[in-house]
Symmetry: C2
């Protein structure tokens, strides 16, 4: 019982900081996207494709969460995008306090979108609010179509589902239909975009969704 109570307290403290962050982001009309996925589903690749597609027309920055290394931040920086790396050590997720620390290294007035690339993990990151506008869940076809039923909390948290590596689907037994149905069972009406960061297929739909979200922020 003691452990459960403490987890509650930790989460409440996280929620207080997340609420402060959300207030700050809203005031600045900043779109903040929390990217969740398994290790290696293609979060950094999606950000690279975004940088390629929009170049300097999209003003964005990235907060990278990893146990170790600056590799993902370095990949993003190659495109001239500001990236702040958080190393969590043995920590399985980012929390709002880490984000509060990272945003002090960013000039939020000079950007329209802040991407937060969470630690590669379908479990723990789903439990922590980072003050984001929306959560984007990436799943790749090579992980199998049974992920919605097995990791429901991540699908419940998601505002957009991006199915990546559709170019590899023909070499696997992945069924897009089964995946879509299972995801809808967890969260009806969850929008899904199918992409391949390798071939570039579907990236235009991702960019369109992104531009709609930015537009909505500016109008609000």
């Amino acid at each position: 019982m003691k452990e459960i109570k403490l987890q509650k307290n930790v989460l409440s403290k996280n929620d207080v900081i997340a609420a402060e962050l959300r207030k700050q982001f809203t005031q600045k009309r900043l779109l903040v996207l929390n990217l969740l996925s398994s290790p290696g589903s293609g979060k950094t690749s999606l950000l690279e494709e975004t940088a390629k597609a929009l170049g300097s027309s999209l003003r964005f920055a990235v907060i990278e969460g990893d146990l170790q290394t600056e590799r993902d931040a370095d990949r993003i920086r190659k495109y001239g995008v500001k990236a702040v790396q958080i190393n969590t050590g043995r920590g399985c997720h980012l929390d709002a306090n880490m984000i509060a620390g990272a945003v002090t290294q960013l000039d939020l007035d000079s950007i329209d979108v802040l991407f937060i690339e969470n630690v590669g993990n379908l479990v723990c990151p789903a439990a922590y609010d980072l003050g984001e506008t929306a959560a984007v869940l990436l799943v790749s076809t090579t992980e199998g179509d049974d992920k919605p039923a097995k990791y429901p909390t991540a699908f419940l948290k998601a505002d957009l589902l991006v199915l990546n590596k559709i170019d590899l689907a023909p070499y696997t037994n992945f069924s897009t239909e089964r995946f879509r149905e299972d995801a809808a069972r967890i969260k009806p009406k969850l929008k899904m975009i199918e992409v391949s960061c390798t071939t570039g297929a579907g990236i235009d739909q991702w960019i369109q969704w992104l531009e709609e979200q930015i537009k909505a922020k500016k109008i609000l």
Copy 2:
């Protein structure tokens, strides 16, 4: 500070139960393998291939760890293998207490090998001893070759590294050489076996490794 202290206590309690389990497994000369990987790397597929290859000549049982569903246990049961499913809810890993509960549902005297398929997650399961003889880490080529540097704790815990989905490697930018070098940097001399659960390539090497471990247990 309070949270860190509590985590220590929880881990110590886990270690006490894990030590009891290890003693029990050793007395029975039972090989217990803790399978770790990201979601969808192919843990269940590897067990299916094991059942196909060894049939009734290997007496084994499986403890399946998942947030939700009995899907993995059902896949294994199709081969006539006894499988106990643990659903962790929102829990990101199995712990020794869950294993202690599950083994009461198994006749340990009638098996030679117990596989524990951990929750799909490269972070949390690496921190919990389950009383296993050895930890087997699965990584699939589609996850990218940067996993050793990014998830060092899982590689440090591993006694065997199984690289799966080598049939898909030609369609990705995965470099086996880079992966091997990075893994060796984290844990020198970590043995690696390359397999494809789809084509069956390398499964013979996995079976050979498994038989060597069983043999060693019986001799000891």
